[in-house]
């Protein structure tokens, strides 16, 4: 009796979830950021270039996407703005590459890959992938 009851309850919950649960939107996935040249420690004034690869494209209903690279020290600098990048597709592999980024801030700093993905009905989803480097 007890098992029947638990089974019935479980079925009800399952049915409820199946009816009301919204399917989570599938977002694109990305690799980690590759910093070129690769160094353990960078010197102040060095320049680097970052790249990242899209692993899966996500939901096909994507209307528009914007991607850019950004650093942790640009936020208060009025001269530095988002480094927008466009996807580069080679042999079906989609990758994004930043402009040359001058390292002007010492210490543990972060470089981000950001994305703003626009899906129907004003559903905007973020992409934020950071990498931390050491600058002396």
């Amino acid at each position: 009796m007890k098992r029947t009851y638990i089974f019935a309850l479980f079925s009800l919950v399952l049915a409820f979830v199946a009816c009301t649960g919204e399917k989570a939107r599938e977002l694109p996935t990305f690799s980690t950021i590759t910093v070129t040249p690769a160094k353990e420690v960078y010197a102040l004034g060095d320049s680097v270039q970052c790249s990242i690869t899209m692993l899966t494209p996500g939901d096909a209903s994507l209307k528009e996407a914007k991607y850019w690279f950004y650093t942790s020290w640009w936020g208060s600098d009025p001269n530095m703005t988002a480094d927008f990048c466009t996807p580069d597709t080679v042999d079906g592999i989609v990758s994004f590459t930043s402009s040359k980024i001058a390292l002007t801030k010492a210490g543990e700093v972060r470089i981000y890959f950001w994305g703003r993905l626009e899906y129907p009905n004003w559903d905007f989803q973020p992409v934020q992938i950071p990498v931390t480097i050491h600058v002396q």
Partner: protein, 1165 residues
């Protein structure tokens, strides 16, 4: 340990010796013990402590004591009374009744109706003072256990409660219950007297004090809201001291709807309802029809509300009641607005881009990236500051700023303290009360505060057996201090404009944000300067109101049943307003400070002082002879009133300091110095005859003649008669057979006329304005500007009273021992001679056509109220409960108006008051094909259809598109127009709704058991149509102004797009709702909303503690909430506007309505 024991023993001996040492000497003969006790107290150091109702205190004793020790004296004093005593600490002697233990006995009995000898089923039989009890069975029998000497209490609704003592040797009882005459004797206060409720022939409803006393409301207005379906109360705002509009059975006149209010008389003196302390109220009578109100004459045109305050009572020992409550207020609406800078900028830009090709923010993609990266930063992340100083020093904003929280508090404390004292004997009775109420306002910066104090002192003295004197004094004082501009409403109107979440209120250096090149290209003024102004903290405002009423009355008992009443009351009111404003600084660039240049940022001081004085006199005779079954009441008298208003106001600029506000510091231009004086005098004579035969056939007739100085000599007098008839069928012999279940049946009819004098003070006189000043170009000496006087348009000297004639048919029924009662009324009210522009004169006349008494209207309505009240014995205690409700509706039509063309811009004959004309909308276009098809049938010649704001031809997407509203070509002429704006040719419009409240209703539930009480009041409006107009910005959001900051977080889910075709709002486009020329501007069926609502007006749960009975006759703790819950269809589309707020104005911009939660206690001793 031993030392402590010795010490304690010593103390005990000492106290014993002290008692022994006290002696009493006195001699009394046949004196109540109650009066002997103080004599004993005077001779020793002891005080008696006892319950005033203690049995035996009134026993007469004869004693002779001579140096008798106290204990011995007490034994003698209480001998045979059953009173025992106990010496307590602090020299207190506690008196109580001796408990006699006796064997429990089985008591049986039967409860019968004294009149019919029929058994009473379900009567409660309880052993007094215990929890033991039972109810009678189908034959009226009962059985319970009680001891000899205990009392049985037998009760049943509709019957007098009966008590009997269990006597030794008697175990069987027969109890005869007599019908209660309480309900039959219930007296209702009516004009210049009181009447038995059952004998009323006019439409009068009574609000009981228990329904309003103790409610956590600052005043009586909100407590009365929903008390009766005929009473329509609309608050102008939700803030402290907000004004209100109210009427009984709808508007009495189309003129001066705000001043043609019901007459509110508090103990016979006209007062502001909002200044009456609810805790002082004994009862409220609402006189709804003309026959009931006619005796009040000229001021009673819109009905009368009679408020009777509490009084002392003969034989009542001094009784103090303290009521204290404290709690908090919070908004009745949702304020979950967008606080993410990205979304505030994005939405305003996409809306604006569809309006013109220019975005609102002028932010670039890089700026949007900055906003996006800060999307979830609720506080500033050091990596991503909200304000970035540009190379030129200007500030660029990327904030997630919560502007609502910046301006407003969502939780604000309130406190309410009441104390009263009442008592009396055969010569004098008194009631004195005081109240202090305070609440914090919702403006967060430089918080606004409301303080209110009131007191009342009411004394009645029987000077001689034939002369009674009464004095009734009341004083009210309120003080409201608030920041910002003179009109506190301004913050709600402009505070959110350009206050977008991406803009913070302050710059990094603490300077205030106002204008900035990065905000709408330097044109956006954040909050119209309101935020900077508040942060600056130098704008100060004070509203002070004081009111004092003194009433002296004399009643002469001239002869048997003949009294002469004379009273004089003086009312003094004072209003003081002062407003200080200064120039407000802001910064757009690092290191610089500028001053805001608008009318709110000026260095000035304004003060207004207004005084109101009213002298009121009443003299009337009242004769109430009775012979056999004939009862007659004759009332006749005189009422006079003189009113004077005097106001002075001045404004001067440029004060020497920003911190002190006085004209003494002002050195600049005097921009205003004016004075206003108005006086009115009225005289009235009245007479009324009430007659009933055996309480069966009821008759009343009254007449009043009034003269008002508002009219020209020859047109000043108005005679207003009223009469009513009633038949209490239930008193007829033929009713006997059903009287046991149908107790009361009365049918009544009334007719009467009232006159309204609420025209202007001097409308019949052609006035001259002497305050004209020529411009500087017109001078005689080249320097001194000339002044001039202008003669106003001529007036019609024949102006006279508007007259209202009311017919009312009513039915009062009572069933099942009057447990079920029902009252219904149907009425017609015709208002004739309303002031209106009279017959059009030839254009050569050269002035505005004068007003005449030329318009009529008619109101028809009904009301119904049902109440069920009963009590049962549950677990030995009475469970009392009551369920009731009422509903009413009315419709008003214009029956005469000088508008033969039936222009819709004013009233017209046949118009229903409140009717709303609008277009019909058949959904939204979903495809381009639908648009093309529509355009083949309808020529888009006007901007509404074109969805293009007037004068802007450069929009990104002009013309009709999918997502736009589809106007229906109702008249089939191929164009969407308003015709010639007449009722006969309204174009494609029709009557789509009505803005007046329909089906006012209320219902309540209350219950009481075991000291726990619960009451719940609901109130609502069945239907009321509202079209959100131009500035209803929290409803329309960016459809009105794309820079409106308060927008619901889920707003975009209601906006049409190809992905969201079933959305409520059309495609996004700025300014579409701003102005009647745009697609959403004119009223239409799609966006007209029913703002009818159901509101839980109050819920109170209390518990009367059974302890401390020796100290308190009542000690109750309670929780009370006002407006805790509301449902309205409006909430489906907009949760930030309260339905009552919506009807205040079509723009719904007011101080927010609040719900109140309080905890309190009431103690009576």
């Amino acid at each position: 340990m031993r030392r402590k024991f010795v010490l304690a023993l010593s103390l005990m001996l000492l106290s014993l010796l002290t008692v022994q040492a006290q002696v009493v000497t006195l001699k009394v003969t046949n004196q109540p013990i109650r009066e002997v006790l103080p004599m004993v107290e005077q001779q020793c150091d002891y005080h008696f402590f006892y319950n005033n109702n203690l049995t035996g205190l009134d026993n007469l004793v004869t004693l002779t004591l001579n140096q008798t020790p106290l204990e011995q004296a007490l034994k003698q004093l209480f001998k045979g009374t059953g009173i025992s005593y106990k010496m307590a600490e602090n020299n207190v002697i506690v008196l109580s009744v001796e408990e006699k233990k006796s064997a429990v006995r089985h008591i049986t009995g039967v409860v019968l109706d004294k009149k019919s000898n029929e058994p009473i089923i379900g009567a409660s039989v309880a052993v007094k003072g215990t929890t033991s009890g039972t109810i009678t069975d189908l034959d009226g029998n009962f059985t319970l256990e009680a001891s000899t000497g205990q009392y049985l209490q037998v009760s049943y609704l509709g019957y007098e409660t009966y008590e009997l003592r269990v006597a030794a040797g008697s175990d069987i009882y027969r109890v005869m219950l007599a019908e209660s005459t309480a309900q039959l004797d219930e007296v209702v206060v009516v004009g210049y007297g009181a009447q038995k409720k059952v004998n009323l022939t006019g439409a009068v409803s009574v609000v009981e004090s228990k329904d309003i006393v103790g409610r956590p409301t600052p005043n009586m207005v909100t407590a009365l809201q929903g008390a009766d379906p005929a009473l329509n109360i609309t608050m102008s705002a939700g803030g402290p001291g907000a004004s209100y509009n109210f009427n009984i059975r709808g508007l009495a006149s189309i003129n001066n709807s705000s001043t043609t209010k019901p007459l509110v008389l508090v103990d016979g003196v006209e007062m502001e309802l909002s200044r009456v302390n609810t805790n002082d109220i004994e009862s409220v009578s609402i006189l709804k029809d003309a026959s009931a109100s006619a005796i009040y004459g000229s001021k009673a045109a819109a009905g009368v509300i009679l408020v009777t305050t509490k009084s002392g009572k003969e034989g009542l020992a001094p009784q103090v009641t303290i009521d204290a409550k404290a709690g908090w207020k919070s908004p009745t609406t949702d304020h979950d607005f967008i606080t993410q800078g990205f979304w505030s900028a994005y939405i305003s830009d996409i809306f604006m881009l569809q309006h013109t090709k220019t975005a609102m923010t002028t932010y670039t993609e890089a700026d949007y990236a900055e906003l996006w990266m800060r999307l979830n930063d609720q506080t500033e992340n050091p990596e991503r500051p909200w304000v970035v100083t540009q190379n030129d020093g200007t500030y660029k904003y990327y904030a997630n700023f919560n502007w609502y929280d910046h301006y407003y508090k969502t939780i604000r404390p309130m406190q309410d303290y009441n104390v009263s004292l009442k008592g009396g004997n055969d010569r004098i009775n008194y009631f004195v009360s005081g109240r202090y109420y305070t609440e914090d306002g919702m403006i967060r910066i430089d918080n606004d505060k409301w303080h209110q104090f009131s007191t009342r002192a009411k004394v009645n003295i029987n000077v001689k057996p034939w002369l009674h004197y009464g004095v009734n004094f009341s004083f009210f004082s309120s003080r409201y201090t608030y920041p910002g501009t003179e009109s506190s409403r301004e913050i709600f109107r402009v505070g959110s404009l350009h206050a977008m979440a991406y803009i913070p209120a302050t710059n990094p250096d603490g300077s205030f944000v106002y204008l900035n090149p990065w905000i709408y290209s330097g044109q956006g003024t954040v909050g119209d300067g309101m935020s900077a102004l508040l942060l600056n903290g130098k704008h100060k405002n004070l509203n002070l109101n004081r009111e004092m009423v003194i009433q002296n009355s004399l009643t002469f008992d001239l002869y048997k049943n003949l009294t002469l009443n004379a009273d004089y009351s003086f009312t003094w009111r004072m209003k003081e307003i002062s407003n200080r404003s200064v120039k407000v600084p802001y910064s757009a660039k690092e290191g610089t400070t500028d001053l805001i240049e608008n009318f709110r940022s000026v260095d000035s001081y304004h003060q207004q002082l207004a005084r109101y004085q009213t002298h009121n006199y009443n003299v009337y005779l009242r004769w109430t002879p009775t012979w056999d079954k004939h009862h007659l009441t004759l009332t006749a008298g005189y009422n006079g009133e003189m009113y004077r208003y005097h106001s002075t106001q001045a404004t001067r600029m440029d004060l020497m300091t920003e911190d002190l506000s006085s004209f003494n510091f002002a050195k600049g231009e005097v921009t205003e110095l004016s004075e206003s004086i108005k006086t009115v005098a009225t005289n009235g004579f009245f007479a009324r005859v009430n007659y009933d035969w055996a309480g069966r056939y009821l008759f009343e007739v009254s007449v009043r003649a009034d003269a008002s100085s508002r009219f020209a000599p020859g047109y000043r007098w108005a005679v207003t008669p009223g009469g009513s008839l009633g038949w209490r069928m239930s008193e007829e012999p033929f009713w006997e057979s059903i009287h046991d279940w149908w107790d009361n049946a009365k049918i009544r009819f009334s007719a009467g006329q009232l006159a309204n004098q609420m025209t202007g003070y001097y409308d019949y006189i052609q006035s001259v304005d002497a305050d004209g000043m020529f411009t500087q170009a017109i001078t005689l000496d080249g320097a001194t500007v000339l002044s001039y006087a202008t003669e106003n348009d001529p007036n019609a000297g024949t102006l006279t009273w508007e007259k209202m004639t009311t017919y009312d048919v009513g039915l009062d029924l009572g069933f099942l021992g009057n447990r079920l009662s029902l009252t219904g009324d149907f009425y017609i009210r015709n208002t004739e001679g309303m002031l209106n522009t009279g017959t059009a004169l030839p254009s050569v006349y050269g002035a505005t056509d004068p007003k005449q008494n030329s318009a009529n209207m008619s109101t028809r309505g009904w009301e119904l109220a049902v109440t069920w009240r009963d009590k049962h014995n549950v677990l030995g205690k009475d469970f009392k409960y009551e369920i009731g409700g009422g509903v009413g509706n009315y419709r008003t039509f214009i029956t005469k108006y000088n508008n033969p063309e039936k222009l819709l811009s004013t009233y017209y004959e046949g118009q229903e008051l409140g009717e709303l004309w609008g277009y019909e909308i058949d959904g939204l276009f979903q495809t381009q094909e639908e648009v093309v098809d529509y355009l083949t049938k309808v020529d888009p010649v006007n901007s509404m259809v074109y969805t293009d704001i007037v004068g802007v031809l450069d929009s990104k997407a002009p013309g009709l598109h999918p997502g736009d509203v589809r106007y229906v070509d109702l008249n089939g002429d191929g164009v969407i127009t308003s015709g010639n704006n007449t009722a006969d040719n309204p174009g494609d419009r029709r009557i789509i709704g009505n803005t007046l409240p329909k089906y006012n209703y209320n219902f309540h539930i209350s219950a009481e058991w075991y000291g726990v009480d619960l009451s719940i009041h609901f109130q609502g409006v069945g239907r009321r149509d509202w079209y959100p107009m131009t500035e209803a910005t929290t409803f329309w959001g960016p459809y009105s102004r794309p820079y409106q900051g308060f927008m619901a977080k889920d707003f975009m889910t209601n906006v049409w797009s190809e992905d969201n075709p079933d959305a409520y709002f059309p495609r996004y486009r700025a300014y579409e709702a701003l102005g009647s020329a745009n697609s959403l501007g004119p009223a239409n069926t799609r966006y007209m909303l029913n703002v009818g609502y159901l509101r839980m007006k109050n819920i109170t749960v209390g518990y009367t503690l059974p302890c401390w009975k020796n100290v308190f006759s009542e000690f109750r703790i309670y929780f009370s909430a006002e407006n805790p819950w509301c449902w309205s269809q409006l909430q489906k589309y907009c949760r930030s506007i309260d339905p009552e707020q919506a009807v205040v104005s079509s723009q719904a911009i007011t101080y927010g309505f609040a719900r109140t939660f309080t905890f309190g206690l009431t103690a009576t001793f």
